[in-house]
C-alpha cells in the first residue's frame, strides 16, 4: 500500500472541509472494497477520511412509507434489522447474501452503492424499489444513479448520507452467486411498488439496470410463465471467464422466475 495521511471525521461538515482542502482524498466507509484496492496499489489516495465516527450516517428508521438507511449502516445491521425484516424482507435477505459474516460486519450500504460494482447486490434493490440516494448536495433518483462500471452520478466530492427506500407492496431478490467469489453472477430484484412493477438486474451488465422487458410482461400477468417469452437482449451484457453474455441473459430469466415463485 502507498503512504497516505489518515483523518477521522466526526461530522459531515468536517468531511466536506477536508475533501475541499486536501490534494487527492478518498472517503472510507467499511473499507471492504477500498482497502483491498489500495493493497493492490490500484488506488493511491493522498488522504483517507474515515466516516466511521459520524453517528448521523448510521441507523435505520421508518418515515411516511419509507425505510431510511444511513450510509454507514453495515450489511449485518440491515440483515438483522427487525424493521427492515418487517417492511422490506427481501432487502434484509439480500444483505445476508453479501460476502461473508466478517465482510458484513464492516461493509456498508453507502459504500456498496457508491462503488457501483457490476456484480454488487444492493444496486439491484435500489433500482427495483426506486430508492432515492440522499447526498450532502441533493436527492438522486435511482434511475439516474448508476451510470457505468464503477461509475455513478455522484460528483467526486459528493457524499451519500442515506438511502430512502419506498416500502413496496411486495418484493423478492434471487441471486445466482459466482461460485468462487459469491458476488452476483446475476441477481434479479422484483418489486410490486406504488408505481407499478419494477425489476432491477445486477451482475449482468456494466452496472445495475432496469429490465423494461420483464416489467412489461409482469405488469400484464404477474406469473412465472409471463417471463417465458420475454426476450432479454444479450448485446450489452458482460462476458467473461465465468459466464458468456448469452448465459447471463438466460440467467436473468431464470432468476426472475425464481423471484416470482418466491412471491407467490
Amino acid at each position: 500500500m502507498y503512504e497516505f495521511q489518515y483523518h477521522k471525521a466526526s461530522s459531515i461538515n468536517e468531511v466536506k472541509e477536508k475533501i475541499s482542502s486536501l490534494n487527492d482524498p478518498k472517503i472510507m466507509a467499511g473499507g471492504m472494497t477500498l482497502i483491498p484496492t489500495m493493497k493492490q496499489r490500484l488506488a493511491a489516495p493522498s488522504d483517507i477520511i474515515d466516516l466511521s465516527n459520524i453517528n448521523e450516517l448510521k441507523g435505520i428508521s421508518k418515515e411516511k412509507g419509507f425505510i431510511i438507511i444511513g450510509a454507514m449502516t453495515t450489511h449485518f445491521e440491515v440483515h438483522t434489522s427487525e424493521l427492515v425484516k418487517k417492511e422490506i424482507p427481501s432487502l434484509a435477505f439480500l444483505a445476508g447474501l453479501i460476502g461473508d459474516p466478517m465482510v458484513r460486519h464492516r461493509g456498508t450500504i453507502g459504500g456498496s452503492v457508491a462503488n457501483s460494482d457490476p456484480s454488487a447486490d444492493y444496486p439491484s434493490s435500489v433500482i427495483s424499489l426506486g430508492a432515492k440516494i440522499i447526498t450532502d448536495k441533493r436527492e438522486i433518483e435511482s434511475d439516474e444513479f448508476f451510470i457505468d462500471l464503477f461509475e455513478t452520478a455522484l460528483d467526486d466530492d459528493e457524499i451519500i448520507l442515506s438511502l430512502k427506500f419506498p416500502i413496496p407492496n411486495k418484493s423478492a431478490y434471487m441471486k445466482f452467486p459466482q461460485p468462487a467469489s459469491r458476488y452476483a453472477l446475476v441477481g434479479v430484484f422484483i418489486s410490486d411498488t406504488k408505481e407499478g412493477i419494477r425489476v432491477g438486474i445486477t451482475g449482468a451488465g456494466p452496472c445495475a439496470f432496469r429490465s423494461k422487458e420483464i416489467e412489461k410482461a409482469l405488469s400484464k400477468n404477474f406469473t412465472e410463465s409471463a417471463i417465458e417469452n420475454v426476450n432479454i437482449p444479450s448485446e450489452n451484457l458482460n462476458s467473461d471467464i465465468h459466464a458468456s453474455a448469452e448465459y447471463r441473459a438466460h440467467l436473468v430469466k431464470v432468476m426472475a422466475k425464481r423471484a416470482i415463485k418466491k412471491l407467490s
Binding site: 503512504e3 473499507g31 460476502g99 461473508d100 459474516p101 464492516r106
Partner: protein
C-alpha cells in the same frame, strides 16, 4: 506521519505509534508479536486473519491499525483463560478439526462469533456462515463438527 493508537489487545492496554497504512494484522503480528493470527491471502477472502473487534469477528487484514484506536481486540492468543483452552479450541482438538493448522486460528475466531450470534445453529446454515474462511486441508467436515459441538 505516524499516529498514536491506543488499543486494548487481549485485555491489555497498548499504546503504539503506527503509520496510517499499517494493517491491523501487521500491527498484531509485527508490533505485538502475536503470530497466531495468520495472513493467507491478499483479497480479503480466506479468513485466516479473523479476530474480534469489540467482540465481533472481522478480517484484520482489511482494516487499518489506526481504525482500532480506543477499541478492544481479541486474537487467538486471548481466548484461553488461565492456561485452559477455550471450549471452541477443545472441540477442534476432540473433533480433529485441523490438519496443517494454518486456517485454524481464523476458524476458531469465526466459530466463536457464529455460536455467539446463533447458539443453536444447524449444519446447513453453519456451512453458509463459514463462507469467508477457507481451509485447504480438511474438507470442512470436521471443522463444521467442531463448531457445532463446542460446549460454549
Amino acid at each position: 506521519m505516524k499516529i498514536n493508537v491506543n488499543v486494548n489487545v487481549n485485555g491489555q492496554d497498548v499504546s503504539e505509534e503506527v503509520e496510517p497504512r499499517t494493517l491491523l494484522v501487521d500491527f498484531i503480528r509485527e508490533k505485538m508479536k502475536l503470530t497466531g493470527t495468520h495472513v493467507g491471502c491478499d483479497t480479503t477472502q480466506c479468513g485466516a486473519c479473523t479476530i474480534h473487534l469489540d467482540g465481533v469477528a472481522i478480517k484484520s487484514c482489511t482494516i487499518l491499525a489506526v481504525q482500532a484506536h480506543n477499541r478492544s481486540i481479541t486474537t487467538i492468543e486471548g481466548i484461553s483463560k488461565n492456561d485452559e483452552l477455550h471450549p471452541m479450541q477443545i472441540s477442534f482438538k476432540e473433533n480433529h478439526g485441523l490438519q496443517c493448522g494454518f486456517c485454524t486460528p481464523g476458524m476458531v475466531m469465526a466459530g466463536i462469533d457464529i455460536r455467539r450470534r446463533k447458539p443453536t445453529i444447524e449444519e446447513d446454515e453453519l456451512r453458509l456462515e463459514l463462507e469467508g474462511n477457507i481451509c485447504r486441508c480438511t474438507g470442512y467436515h470436521n471443522i463444521v463438527k467442531s463448531i457445532l459441538n463446542a460446549k460454549m
